[in-house]
Structures are given as C-alpha cells and as structure tokens.
Amino acid sequence: MEKVLMKGNEALAEAAIRAGCKCFFGYPITPQTELSEYLSKQMPKRGGVFLQAESEVAAINMVLGAGGTGTRVMTSSSSPGISLKSEGISYIAGSDVPCLIVNVERGGPGLGSIQPSQQDYWQATKGLGHGDFRLIILAPNSVQEVVNLVVRAFELGEKYRMPVMLLSDGLLGQMMEPVEFPEIKAETADNSSWAACGTKMQREHHIVNSLYIEAKDLEEQVKARYERYAVVEANESDAECYLCDDAEIVITAFGACSRIAKSAVNKARAEGIKAGLFRPITLWPFPKQQLLDATKNAKAVLSVEMNMGQMVDDVKLALDCKIPVSFFGRTGGVIPSPNEVLEELRKLNGGAQ
C-alpha cells in the first residue's frame, strides 16, 4: 500500500469519499476549510453531492434531510460553527438519523482564535444540544487514525442509528503526515425499516421525527435510546495504553495533545520516572474500565489537555476519585510543549527541578 503525504483535513475528506459518503453539506470556517475545498473538487467527479449552505444551521438541516432518506452523509465545521449546528444535532439525535459531524476544533469561547484547541470536550461529550441524548465521539491523534476512524464513524452511526462526531483539531487538520488508504469497505446497515425514501406504495409511510406530544411517549422513546447507548458503552469504548503496566504516574490525554504527552512520557522514562500514557479514543463512551486497568499501579494521574481541564471530571469519575488527579494544560490555541509536561511529571514524581 502506497503512502501519500496529506493534510489531516484532506485525508479526512478522501477517507469519507472512500467510505461511501454520498453527500456533504457545509459552510466555510477556519481551520476546517481544506476539508470542504477538497470535497468541492472531488464529490462532483466521484458521484457525490457537495453543497455550500447559506449557514451552519442550514447545513446541519440538510444533513437531517439527506440522512433521513438513509443516505450516507456528513458535515464539518469548527467550534463556533458547531455551536450553530447544535439545534440540528439535537433534532438528528432525537430522530435517530445516522450521520457524521466533524469538528476541527479551534479556540473559544466566542470567536476565540483560529489556532488548535480542545476546548469543545464538554460540548462534544455532554452538551451538543438540548435534551437527553448522546453522540459517539471519536478522537484521533494522527492523520492515519483520522482516516481509520472516519470509516468506523459511518459504520457505528448506522449500526446504532445515531449521529457520530469526529473530534479533530487545528493541529490534526492542518499538519501533513504520510498516510495510506487501506482497501475500504465500510459496512452499511439496513435502513429499510425507517428511512423516508418513498413508500413505493408497498408499505406504511415512514416518519422521521423527534416530536412526541405525550410525555409518556417521549419518555419511552428516550429510554429506548438509552438502552441502545448502554450497548454502545458496553461494546464500543476504545483507548490506547502506552507504558501503563508499571506506570506510577499515568497521563490522560486525547487527540493531538496525546502526541505531546507521549514525548513527555518518553523523556520522563529516560530520567527513570515511571510514567505512562492513557489515551481515550472514544471520548463518549469514555473508556472507564480501560482507564481503571491502566492505572492499577498508578499513584498519580495527570490530565494533559489543550483547554482548562474539561476531561478531568470524566477521569475522576472513572477512577472513583481513588487516585489523585491533577491537571496541566494550555488554552486559547496555545500548544503545550513536551518539556512543560515533563516538568509536571517531575513535580508529581516528588522533585521539581
């Protein structure tokens, strides 16, 4: 398999086409721009639809329409744009329509900055819109993993009939890395029981809808959805452990930031500090059991993030607060250096220098 050098955003777009994505609806925003531009070039040549919508709000509703027909569909944006999409995401989740939503994160709040950030962890894992619902959140840390997870995102979304978010960031989106596209054959789920694609006068009409005017009916729907979420939690949580077996200090870090943390772990090991790295690949479901296993010898956990510590709560909850959890991060689009993280490890190891 030949490796090619590609930007993360472009590799994501190429992977989506190869995974059978038929429609893309989006709106320009930095730093996800290359993704839309790539698809605007490629989709018309390869039998797909590219449409630049009048707003993020319209784009996500076009996703609801296309996804509602059972068509494989995606949108992409960056942080402020995801806020605008949150109305539509709630409706999509409430209508059980599968789709892929990409967030190439930048700094916030407000217009924030255009530099890489992980400031949408809370939004992605806990607050993508009003109501009781979840999205599967996938957090790659390399351009190759972006490609691999795009395929999985479509499969998971259709398997569980729910929207999936791929949480990238300005670093992963903009950097170039060698990447290969394996023979992709994304599985498709049978949508004939629900999709609104014409009755052909051969069945009852399908209704793609999130409204249940009777409170008890809505409760029943939400509870049925949560039963599905429980299956997702049991089967789909995923993480990578690096040198965790004997680690006394375990760093938790996701996405691009985990690469920096890994460098720090290597530097620490060279100094004799028993450090390890635990990297959640699914942010929801959060890989609780994997974290417990990875920290069985740990005396301290350090969450390293490009935000003000949004993942710390989930780490503490997974550990049931049995191991002290501290935090180090940079925010606003500032990227932490391995040496800054190493210094934190030294402190936790009992000797700041």
Binding site: M62, G65, T69, G88, A196, C197, T199, H205, L211
Partner: protein, 261 residues
C-alpha cells in the same frame, strides 16, 4: 355503486387536530389530491414545519420528515440532493417560513432548489396562541401586539411572493386563497403546477395560500372568511408573481415578433 367523492389516498384516514373553520384541512386535501392525480405518492417525501401543521406527518400518507422551526427548505434540500428521484415538498406557516426560516427560504429559492413549498399564510402564530407574525397586518391586534401592530416599532409585514419573485432561482411564486370555490380550484391548479415544475426540473416553486385562523382571530369561521376577503387579500394581492414558463413563452413570442401575454 360508483364512488363520486372520497378521501384522497395520499391523505391518511385519521382525525385532523385543526380548529373548526381552519383552512389547513382544505389545503391538506388539495395537496393530497394533486399527489393522487399525479400518481406520485410512493415517490414523494414531505417535510413538516413547526407550527399548527407540525402534525402533518401523521396526515400525509407519503414518507415524512419533521424539520426544526423554519428549517424545512434546508431539510427538503438535503432530501432532494440525496435523492433527486423523489418529489419533495415542504408545508409551512408564516412564522416558520417568513421569520425564523427566512434565510432557509430565500437561499433555497435563490439556489433554484428543485422543491415545492406550500406556504400557508394566516398572519399569526396559531400553535402558540396567536402572537404577532411577520405577516400580521398593520394595526392587527394579537397577543404580542395588544395595541395593534405598529410598524414604527414592530416593523412591516413581509410580502413573501413579491420578495422571492426577484430571485433568479424561483420558477414559480404565486399567491392564492381558499375563501371561495374558484379560489380553491385555482389553488389546486397552482399546487399541481408547482409539482410539475419539480418534475421538469424548473426550480423552486412556492404556492402561498392565504388562510384563516378563527380561533386566534377571535372570529367565527364565516367572519374569518369575510376578514380574509376584506382585509387580507387587498393587502396581499392574489396572483402569479413569477412563472418562468410564462416568461419563457413571452420571450419566445417576442423573438418571433409576436405580442407578449
């Protein structure tokens, strides 16, 4: 015995929730009759709004998608782009289409999105109990314009068909009413024309139907029709504001030295 009159197949055999005297029932029936007569029910997807007709997904027998408030034209765009083989229509009220959904409406029209929009204009937010709508007439009393709509503070009503007729992507912009039998027949003719436009790939077609809301207007059904005729129609004149087929026919005639219609 021969059947002379029956419920259109495209209309579900269920009880509609609309108030007495509301004209949604008539308009639903007209859309369903057109779908029946064109034989397209099995290849049609309807998109419902938020508002009084939110439950229209229970009333039309074709596949249906419920859109967020105002977003029906965007949802319909997604359906049509993904599946150009399907006939796609939205069914929207004035608050939905001309206030919160203005951007989605204007841009679906300017893209020439090949969809049908049925726009039911009764000048009020019926579902939430009669608040001021973008199409509420100047001076009209509603629950949020209790002293009558004052354009100096509440702005002026929007003339949707006039506005959309300025856009190149609009194929048909027509305003009708359902106050009389001739008007009802004309409305059906225009709904059919809109669906035919879609099949021909002509672009965006909107049929604005002036409607009544006896419950929130505080009038009897009969008085409501009278108000529609005496106050609403003069403010929102009926007629075809844009029809690309007439425009094309006229251009062809002029090119041949004939008189334009």
């Amino acid at each position: 015995m021969a059947v002379k009159f029956q419920r259109p197949h495209a209309l579900c055999d269920v009880r509609l929730h609309y108030c007495a005297g509301c004209t949604h029932g008539i308009i639903h029936r007209l859309v369903a009759e057109v779908i029946d007569e064109m034989g397209i029910e099995g290849d049609t997807v309807g998109v419902c709004p938020v508002g009084c007709s939110v439950f229209a997904y229970n009333y039309f027998n074709c596949d249906m998608i419920e859109a967020p408030h105002g977003r029906a034209p965007a949802v319909a765009t997604g359906v049509k782009r993904a599946r150009p083989d399907l006939n796609v229509f939205t069914y929207q009220g004035d608050g939905d289409l001309a206030a919160i959904g203005t951007a989605e409406t204007v841009h679906a029209a300017t893209r020439g999105e090949n969809i049908v929009v049925i726009f039911v204009n009764n000048g009020t937010y019926g579902m939430t109990g009669g608040q001021m709508a973008p199409t509420t007439l100047p001076g009209q009393v509603t629950t949020t314009s209790p002293y009558g709509r004052d354009p100096r503070t509440a702005g002026y009503p929007i003339h949707v068909c006039e506005m959309l007729s300025t856009l190149d992507g609009t194929a048909l912009a027509v305003r009708t009413a359902v106050d009389t039998v001739p008007h009802i027949r004309e409305t059906k003719k225009m709904i059919r024309k809109a669906f035919e436009n879609q099949q021909k790939g002509n672009g965006f077609s909107i049929v604005e139907v002036l409607s009544t809301c006896p419950s929130n207007w505080g009038l009897t059904p009969k008085e409501s029709i009278k108000r529609l005729q005496e106050e609403c129609i003069p403010y929102y004149p009926l007629g075809i504001y844009k029809d690309v087929e007439i425009a094309q026919a006229n251009a062809d005639k002029l090119a041949m030295g004939g008189a334009a219609k």
